[in-house]
Every structure is written in structure tokens, then in C-alpha cells.
Symmetry: C2
Subunit: 90 residues, 2 copies
């Protein structure tokens, strides 16, 4: 699960999905990445159970399985900011 989070593009996808359910093409234009790349990362997120799928016509909508992931990532972000701000040296 942590590995699924350890990628810039997947974190961006999660951040994008925090606003709600989205189709693949919507994610593609939101992030400005190629469609196969988006598909690949969505597959990884799904494998980690972080997102769920919903088909509707030709569209496939992805949605966060559990919004707790967003708050956990927020905590991690705050911790990182704090560590950066208070570190002694580079």
C-alpha cells in the first residue's frame, strides 16, 4: 500500500480524486499525462484497494475507496513540512 502511494503521479491522481469520482479521460486532462500512463497508475491504485471502479457507458469512473487516505496523506505532508522546517542541516 505504501508503495502504491510512493509515486508522484499516483499522489496527484489521489489528490484529483479527492474532489470526487472522475473518468480516466478527465484525470488524463487534469494531470496532463498520457492515457496509458494514467491507466497504468489507476490499475496500481486499484490493486492497492485505494480506488474503486464504476463503469458507465464507455466511461470508467474511478473513486477513492476511503477518504481516510486523504487525511493520512495530509498528516504526512504536515509532518514532512515540519521536518523540513526544523531540520538542522541539509
Amino acid at each position: 500500500m505504501v508503495k502504491a502511494l510512493a509515486d508522484e503521479n499516483r499522489l496527484r491522481i489521489i489528490r484529483s480524486l479527492a474532489a470526487g469520482k472522475k473518468s480516466v479521460s478527465r484525470i488524463v486532462e487534469d494531470l496532463g499525462i498520457s492515457q496509458p500512463l494514467a491507466s497504468h497508475h489507476l490499475k496500481e491504485l486499484k490493486r492497492a484497494l485505494l480506488v474503486t471502479i464504476e463503469r458507465s457507458g464507455p466511461f470508467v469512473y474511478y473513486e477513492l475507496t476511503d477518504r481516510r487516505i486523504v487525511s493520512i496523506l495530509t498528516e504526512l505532508n504536515e509532518l514532512a513540512a515540519h521536518l523540513l522546517a526544523t531540520r538542522k542541516a541539509f
Copy 2:
């Protein structure tokens, strides 16, 4: 930072350090990994500001910079357990 967490051995090191400051050799025997490998992972954790160093004679003690990382990892673990328990299919 998430990348620093995305490794089995590094998670084990953090779990081990949750009990308190430890020397490299202590970590090596705790985890049963080679000394260079432990050194390598400790370096990564340090790079991510997750651990701090303290030298004492020939020993180098590593310590968690901030214990919040432990609770965040606990939350992640609980979320993972929950997602696994409630998933619809494999």
C-alpha cells in the same frame, strides 16, 4: 518522504526504532539483514529526515526524528486492514 517509507526493510527499521534509539549493529541483528544493507537504508531514512544520528564512541545511534511517523504508519496499517477486510473481490 513516501518513497522512503515504501520499503519493507525501512518500515521494519522504523518499527524497531519506535522502541527507542539503537545502534546500527543492534538494528542489524534485530532485522537479520546485512550491515551494508542496514547502513544503506538508514542513509535513506536520514535523507528523508525521518531519523537522526548520534555518535558515541565507535557506535552510531539512530533515532526517530518525530514519533508522529509511527502513528501515521499505524493509521495507514489500520486503513489497509480495513480495506482488505471489506474489499469486494480479489
